[in-house]
């Protein structure tokens, strides 16, 4: 085991009233990994993401990230430590343009006080220009530059998913959580997405954890896979190991009667 993992989750449990959504999750993710998280519907995958990003409070357990304890921290604090995410049901700022969506995400990169903002001093201009520059650079990476001034709600579905990834990238994350990034995409869009994810990992050095139902995509893309079922981590390993794991097959197809 890597002595210094990027993310290490220990004994994590989440209860919603009497329902145990996650129970005793232990897992680590190394720097630069591209990891998949799979499991049947209702297994607790999104709850796991919500807990990592602070939208959901853990009942017990600990989340360590890059040397910081993120357990029970506010979502905005966790984002500043370098975890960014996308959502299963797209959550863009609908009445803002593509570029404005990214400028909002520049919040942490742009630095000036209320007063500077109101007086529009030189510092305001420099910081805003730097933010805009960064937003345009990210837009170039995901290939949405030609849509920069369109309202985000008017983008085709696949581009909306890409914009959400772009928005997460602007916050300069160390760990990127993608919640079903390929859902609803056609095969061509999925191929583009695959190469984008590979590029983010190899060229930008971002560690990626993704939830996906498209088994082909997960098996192709991820070198390490975690499997959740009924809130429990039932298996982990390479694609080949997962494919032949009895418990995983049972979880997906049901046990023999």
């Amino acid at each position: 085991m890597d002595p210094n993992p990027l993310l290490s989750v220990s004994n994590l449990s989440v209860n919603f009233g009497g329902l145990r959504a996650l129970s005793n999750i232990n897992l680590t993710i190394k720097h630069g990994d591209l990891v998949g998280l799979i499991g049947p519907n209702g297994a607790g995958k999104t709850t796991f993401f919500n807990t990592l990003t602070g939208l959901c409070k853990p009942s017990t357990g600990q989340i360590m990230f890059a040397g910081f304890d993120l357990t029970n921290k506010a979502a905005s604090y966790i984002s500043r430590q370098g975890i960014a995410r996308t959502f299963q049901n797209i959550r863009l700022f609908k009445s803002l343009t593509v570029l404005e969506n990214l400028m909002v995400a520049c919040h942490q990169n742009i630095n000036y006080s209320f007063l500077t903002g109101v007086l529009k001093s030189k510092k305001y201009r420099l910081e805003e220009e730097a933010g805009l520059e960064e937003a345009k650079r990210i837009l170039e990476i995901v290939g949405l530059s030609h849509h920069a001034h369109e309202l985000s709600v008017n983008l085709p579905y696949g581009d909306q998913r890409k914009l959400e990834i772009a928005r997460a990238l602007v916050t300069k994350p160390k760990l990127l959580l993608l919640d079903e990034p390929a859902a609803g995409m056609n095969p061509a869009e999925t191929q583009e997405l695959l190469s984008l994810i590979r590029y983010l990992r190899s060229d930008l050095g971002i560690t990626i954890l993704l939830i996906e139902h498209d088994m082909n995509l997960v098996m192709n893309l991820c070198e390490h896979i975690f499997v959740l079922d009924y809130g429990m981590l039932i298996a982990e390993g390479t694609a080949a190991e997962i494919r032949s794991n009895e418990q995983v097959i049972q979880a997906y197809l049901g046990a023999d009667v």
């Binding site: 602070g54 979502a75 959550r91 863009l92 400028m103 909002v104 500077t116």
Partner: protein
């Protein structure tokens, strides 16, 4: 300062000079000037409420409470403590902002209808508290306030309010507020402290409402704790301006504040039918422009120049002259 800013300053100064000229010629009477002063104060109220309701998306209907706090606090300071008017005005605004923080912290955890009801309740609490303070006249109202606010003062404060709020909106802090309106959860995961910005927007809105209140009490020389002065009737008046002008449009709020302050005056000849015609006008506007006069749009030099280019574009194309964007 850019060319456009110079033109803006010129236009604003021009409006002021024209008003003064009309007054000196006797075209505008003292009564008309009072209406114009009220227009300025109402613009301050509408624009500051728009920051909370329109830009940050927190539906507050207790804005008149902050107006009342500013009106009474500053009047108390000038009348009882002989404080200079401007200083009292600022302190009145700051006091309203302080109460804004105290109300905002607990209530902004609520959303939608629940927030609206809570702010309505707090607005009424403020009014009832003022009603029961004998030092500021109680139910009789507070009279004998020096009439320190002139049309010019109100005009200058109105312009400052609009500029400050407009600049705030286009800064990263304003963008954070707009993001909260659009999707609070997503904003939080992008590193925006949503509680902080909601309370900040509420507090800034309360400050400018308090300022407007101080201007008002020193404009009329008298203020009383009636529902249509500092109570929920007044809150609704301000809310109508914001919704009619367009949630999230500063120019919309300005236009609606001017329109709604002036229209009862123009309808004066209709006598008692005025209160029938006024709501009919509101209903018609909301039917034909449900997102407000300007929707979320702003009227700015950029919009004007692109409109100008569109209008003149045809002629220039024929002459083969390319348009440039400067």
């Amino acid at each position: 300062m850019g060319k456009r800013n110079l033109i803006s300053v010129g236009i604003l100064a021009g409006i002021y000079l024209i008003v003064q000229l009309l007054v000196s010629r006797g075209v505008l009477l003292a009564y008309d000037l009072q209406i114009l002063g009220l227009v300025c104060i109402n613009i301050m109220l509408a624009v500051s409420l728009n920051l909370i309701n329109g830009f940050t998306g927190q539906f507050s209907i207790g804005h008149a409470g902050f107006f009342g706090i500013g009106a009474y606090a500053s009047a108390y300071l000038t009348v009882v403590h002989d404080m200079p008017f401007l200083l009292a005005l600022i302190i009145g605004g700051l006091f309203a902002a302080l109460i804004g923080i105290c109300i905002g912290l607990p209530t902004l955890r609520l959303e939608g209808d629940y927030l609206a009801i809570a702010t309505l309740g707090f607005g009424e609490i403020i009014r009832v508290v003022i009603l029961n303070i004998p030092a500021v006249g109680g139910a009789r109202g507070f009279s004998g306030i020096s009439r320190s606010t002139t049309f010019g003062t109100a005009y200058v404060f109105m312009i400052l309010t609009v500029i400050i709020l407009k600049n705030f909106i286009s800064s990263k802090h304003g963008r954070a507020c707009i993001a909260i309106r659009e999707d609070e959860l997503a904003s939080e995961t992008l590193g925006i402290n949503t509680t902080f910005y909601k309370v900040a927007a509420f507090t800034i809105g309360a400050f400018f409402a308090g300022l407007a209140g101080g201007l008002y009490s020193h404009f009329m020389g008298y203020i009383n704790p009636a529902a249509n002065q500092i109570g929920f009737m007044k809150s609704i008046d301000i809310l109508i301006m914001v919704v009619l002008g367009g949630l999230g449009s500063i120019t919309g709020s300005i236009a609606a504040a001017i329109f709604l302050t002036l229209i009862p005056e123009f309808l004066r000849s209709l006598a008692e039918y005025r209160m029938v015609v006024y709501p009919i006008i509101l209903i018609l506007i909301m039917l034909f422009r449900p997102s407000g006069l300007l929707g979320g749009k702003e009227l700015s030099w950029d919009v004007l120049s692109s409109f100008y280019r569109r209008v003149t574009g045809k002629a220039q194309k024929q002459q083969g002259v390319s348009t440039n964007g400067s």
